[in-house]
Amino acid sequence: MTTNKIEIKDLTVNYVDNKRSFNALHDVSFGVGRGEFVSVIGASGCGKSTLLSVLEGLYAPAGGSVQIDGKELHGTGSERGVVFQHYSLFPWMTTKKNIEFGIKQTRHGLKRSERAKIADEFLTKVGLADSGSKYPSQLSGGMQQRAAIARALAMDTEILLMDEPFSAIDPKNRVILQELLLSLWEGDGSEERKTVVFVTHDIDEAILLSDKIVVLTAHPGTVNEVVNVPFERPRSRADLVGTEEYGRFRNKLLSLLNTDIAERIGGDEVVL
């Protein structure tokens, strides 16, 4: 029996491209505890998004296992909510309708008016109280991601999977969105925190948000190291960034991220 919410064991994923199969993830193993915020970081092409699409249930692995609450994962499931980098929302539904549609998928037996009430509540939480009747195309990228987060939270799933949700957002708004996600996820302690797997290539984002960071190396994607983030919660960017501990921890992560590159430069393989 495992105590982890999500248990990934010896996960291997192959991609077929131009009739040539290549190994995207190789023997990846780590666990995500209940209520834990885990980030997966790594350079482009290390398979971090592939890993998340396996957790989403969109891609079947070639080997190994993924278990949620001790049960083998098969396909998509209503205990997992997802925020993508793009197109989480349906462009033909208003922001509010998108959220109501999401709620309908996971919280059965609610009346239409109850769904509308929850949608309004979460729109307010992400600062979009006035944008409920707007279509996604009328919102900026940052506002779209706010709405996507509102939907994922309103769906009230036990697990949240986030695939580079802030990568396409300009730096200023990215910081604002990170703080928003942090405060919504940390909450006021009255509710149990959600289990989050968060994929990013931004080290500072990973440190700010996570309890644990999984560093992947590429070709094929393997776990280089799993690092616990030593900073107290509730956190804030202002308190963290600039401190000596933060700098040291960040450097440690950077060198972990770059080990494979260092090895490659020293080795025979050609890095493209």
């Binding site: 998509t76 209503s78 197109y87 989480s88 349906f90 033909w92 549609f101």
Partner: protein, 306 residues
Amino acid sequence: MTFKKRYLRITHLLFIVLLLIQLLPDKSTKEVFTGSLIAFAVGVEVLVLAVSSFIKKEEGIKLLVDIAGFIFVLLGVWSLATAKFNILNDLLFPAPGKVVHQFVEDKEQIFINIESSLGTTIKGFLIAVVLAVPLGLFIGWSARIGSAATYITKFFSSIPPRVYIPYGIALLPTFKSVSVFVIFLATFWPVFAGTMSGVLGVDKKIIDSAKVLNVSKPEMLFRVILPASLQQIFLGCNQGLSVSFILLTSAEMIGARDGMGYYVKYYSDFGDYTRTITGLLVIGFVVIAVTFLFNKLQSHLLRWKR
């Protein structure tokens, strides 16, 4: 918007010029119904003034006013060439007032014919859309037969629907049902093909986004795939609609007992070119009106697109 932008337009000058032209003596030997023409022009002018006083968008006013301007110029040149200077053969080219007069005289008969033509078109068109869209969604979504279906559709939609008319006449009891049948065929294939290509072209990210929400199969088809393919579906509908009008009016000229095509054909056979031209203009107006309403529906349903 300023008063100047709203009301001071060259169109109103054209209206006055048109009225002044009517003061010239008539040269035509036939009756020209100048009064009917003036009444029509005044009607258009009043409509333009009324609409421009409460419409909000400046482009809307500009469009309407410009169209009215074209109408005034056309009527002016037309009455100069016919009633006023009698340059054209007055049997083949009736004066504009005469056409207006004829329309008013025949209005009941014309409305019955419009009703018949529109009824036939709408029936054939709607049956086609109601069958083609769900079928296109199901077949396009089941990828295995989707690509085979694309080729079969290409084959059937390459047959010009007109050539079904003789077979339809042999197959079906009434001329009406033949018209509905042919319009059905003319609409079904483009809408079906449009729906399928829409389904096949839906962004994979949209489909993934729906999959991770664990939507049911009907929800996937009708709340995700359908709206995502809507633009392509409308492309097919537009194609079907424009072919339908061509088909219907030409079919009505072959063997129908009513409809606008019948009206035009019937009176041109008698050499009544006033009614022929009246019929032509009415057909043009009806087609424009239907297309306009259909485009309004389309932009309403696709309002979420940027």
